[in-house]
Subunit: 148 residues, 2 copies
């Protein structure tokens, strides 16, 4: 379904999501209309889920990042939990993980006080019995790039 040209398009867009169609067309050696048609299909078929600007969180004061491991007492509260998570902007990611029936959250906050407030808030959500926080000291690698 995806040929080498599609892969080349995707590789480029993983590196620069604002690459111009004219440049992509040059890159893969097709005319602009043909490239445009392919790109449209990649978008429509959900192969490309979206395009996002990545901002420097530190500029906005979000200097603290942490992984928060959440233990829940039962799966009955999962839906409410998910709603709470989605409404909380400090939580960037949330995954249900295997083992201990728990979840892992990635969150960013501006200061330790906000972190404390966030932890207290999570603790108050139905079914949450315990949280363990892993404070991030430094980032060695941070990408969303899939190996194509």
């Amino acid at each position: 379904m995806l040929d080498d040209l599609d892969i080349a398009i995707l590789k480029k867009l993983q590196e620069n999501g604002r690459t111009k169609r004219s440049e992509l067309a040059d890159l893969i050696g097709l005319s602009l209309p043909s490239l445009s048609e392919r790109l449209k299909k990649l978008e429509e078929n959900g192969i490309i889920e979206g395009y996002y600007a990545k901002l420097n969180r530190h500029v906005f004061g979000y200097d603290i990042m942490a992984f928060i491991i959440v233990m829940m007492d039962s799966s009955k509260n999962y839906e409410k939990f998910a709603e709470h998570v989605k409404k909380t902007p400090e939580i960037l990611e949330c995954y249900a993980v295997l083992g201990e029936g728990s979840h892992i959250l990635k969150a960013i906050v501006k200061d330790t006080k906000s972190l404390e407030q966030l932890l207290n808030k999570i603790q108050s959500w139905p079914g949450v019995t315990r949280t363990v926080t892993n404070f991030i000291l430094s980032t060695i690698k941070e990408t969303t790039k899939i190996n194509l």
Copy 2:
């Protein structure tokens, strides 16, 4: 340094990184050249770190995502470890975390065999004493959007 118009630009680009300049100009009520000038500065000052297409990993067979917690025996090997991490495409993220002198990795692989191979590889890196893997069952939230 950043006014309301800049924030509006950034909000929009966090949602759609390919938003046209003409649309951004309309949105904030400035002329196209003025918008362009602002955008250029946001990029040059590193406030916008880049633009990325987000791909659907499942299309490419990367159905498994896991957090791998790595224990290291000393900080002497951190640099070599970081190099290994950067060279390994399955590892999307790697953070040094507080407590236990360890690291947290986020990785995607195509199947359990690849996961096993990846874990064996990480175990072989200098200084690594132990790993604990958290297998992700489902994704509740996954964004990079900063609350502006």
